[in-house]
């Protein structure tokens, strides 16, 4: 099974078309292998992006350089997946 060690989910706040445009540069780039969980939207809702561990630094640098505010909503994706898996197995056992 695919593992996501070190991968994190960022919630990026975008206010207005200018910031969406800046963020879209990042999202459309193939370099960082980002997985968009919640896309940029008309109402400037936050954008959720799964960032692979190898891309954490460059993505953080980009966001900082563009003055895009973000928070890390899932700091350890694999831990969350392992917990989910454990719960499912426990339930199956029961």
């Amino acid at each position: 099974r695919e593992k996501f060690f070190g991968d994190q989910v960022f919630r990026i706040n975008v206010r207005g078309g200018d910031e969406i445009s800046k963020l879209s540069q990042l999202l459309n780039s193939d370099n960082f292998k980002l997985d968009v969980w919640k896309s940029p939207s008309a109402f400037s809702h936050p954008v959720d992006v799964l960032v692979p561990s190898v891309s954490l630094q460059p993505v953080k640098s980009f966001l900082k350089s563009q003055a895009l505010q973000y928070s890390v909503t899932i700091a350890d994706l694999q831990a969350l997946l392992d917990k989910e898996d454990e719960e499912m197995q426990h339930n199956e056992g029961q």
Binding site: R1, E2, F4, V9, R11, D35, V36, W37, K38, S39, P40, S41, A42, F43, H45, D48, L50, T73, I74, L80, L81, K83, E84, E87, M88, N91, E92, Q94
Partner: protein
């Protein structure tokens, strides 16, 4: 076995377990629920719906509840199977669902993308698309919610098979989509289509493929606002309401737009709970609260449909 009912609605389950429980429900309530096979997936897994109905007659007005089309949105499938049990439990006790079923049938498809769902449990928890093969690319699958024949290949889709919003080679190329389309078209009397997704806490209506207002937008907006209010009444979960295109982003070839453009007036998309901490990995202890509040929204919509059959 039936009277014990060991199925834990507050947990996530395998495809096999969901299908087994659907069969259990049909077995426990033979006069109300039937499990029907409507087709198969690309990898040849059965696609089952539960039909809830109180009277014979093949063309009674009907509601379609669609879930799990994007396989990683597990709260959608989990909410659907809870809803199935809720329908049979409340019939004859709750006046609303009882009167809804006196007038209409409800068809519930808990796993609209069986191959994707199995893949999320065996290989990659974050898989979204189908698992169909692409002849010109090593990338697998199409976005089943961009594959419907409604402004197919329009805004918000991609012709790149490696994209998460790849529309597929042609409309209804995904056998999972075609199975639903064929069933609904053959039936011919659906009045309502609701698609469950996660996550964002949104209740939306057509269109996704254009910013132009749908002819029934005003009524759909009012219905959606009432449904969102009912949903919020349980735990305060706030939903935003609006047309797909201007509430989120352009999305062509979607199930909801197809339903609307094919005469199913009451067409809605739910994006379920977003706690801000889990994304698609909503913990299992949130399944029942999410399903309970969603049910209030679904019931509100179905009551409106019941009272406004056309």
């Amino acid at each position: 076995e039936r009277s014990n009912n060991n199925f834990n609605y507050g947990a996530y389950h395998s495809l096999e377990a969901i299908y087994h429980e659907m069969d259990n429900i049909a077995g426990e309530f033979p006069d109300l629920a039937h499990r029907l096979k409507i087709g198969h997936s690309f990898e040849n897994r059965s696609m089952y719906v539960l039909k809830f109905g109180t009277a014979e007659g093949r063309r009674r007005p009907a509601v379609w509840l669609n879930a799990g089309i994007h396989s990683r949105e597990w709260i959608s499938q989990a909410t659907a199977i809870w809803t199935a049990r809720k329908i049979v439990s409340d019939y004859g006790k709750d006046p609303a669902i009882t009167s809804i079923l006196e007038k209409m049938d409800i068809f519930l498809l808990p796993v609209a993308n069986p191959d994707g769902y199995v893949y999320t449990q065996t290989k990659n928890r974050l898989w979204r698309k189908t698992r169909s093969l692409n002849s010109r690319s090593p990338c697998i699958g199409a976005d089943p919610n961009r594959n419907w024949n409604s402004s197919f290949a329009g805004a918000g889709t991609s012709n790149n098979p490696c994209s998460e919003v790849y529309h597929g080679p042609h409309a209804n190329s995904e056998v999972e989509v075609k199975s639903v389309v064929d069933f609904i078209q053959q039936h011919g009397n659906f009045k309502c289509f609701i698609d469950l997704h996660s996550y964002s806490q949104l209740l939306m209506y057509p269109y996704g493929y254009t910013v132009n207002k749908a002819p029934d937008a005003e009524e759909l907006d009012e219905v959606a606002r009432c449904a969102a209010k009912a949903l919020a009444s349980l735990s305060g979960t706030k939903y935003q309401v609006g047309p797909i295109c201007t509430t989120v982003y352009p999305a062509s070839g979607s199930s909801t737009d197809w339903a609307y453009d094919n005469g199913i007036k009451y067409a809605f998309t739910f994006e379920l709970r977003d706690t801000g901490h889990y994304g698609f990995l909503l913990p299992a202890n949130q399944i029942i609260p999410t399903a309970e509040e969603t049910w209030l929204g679904l019931k509100t919509i179905m009551e409106h449909v019941r009272d406004h059959l056309y």
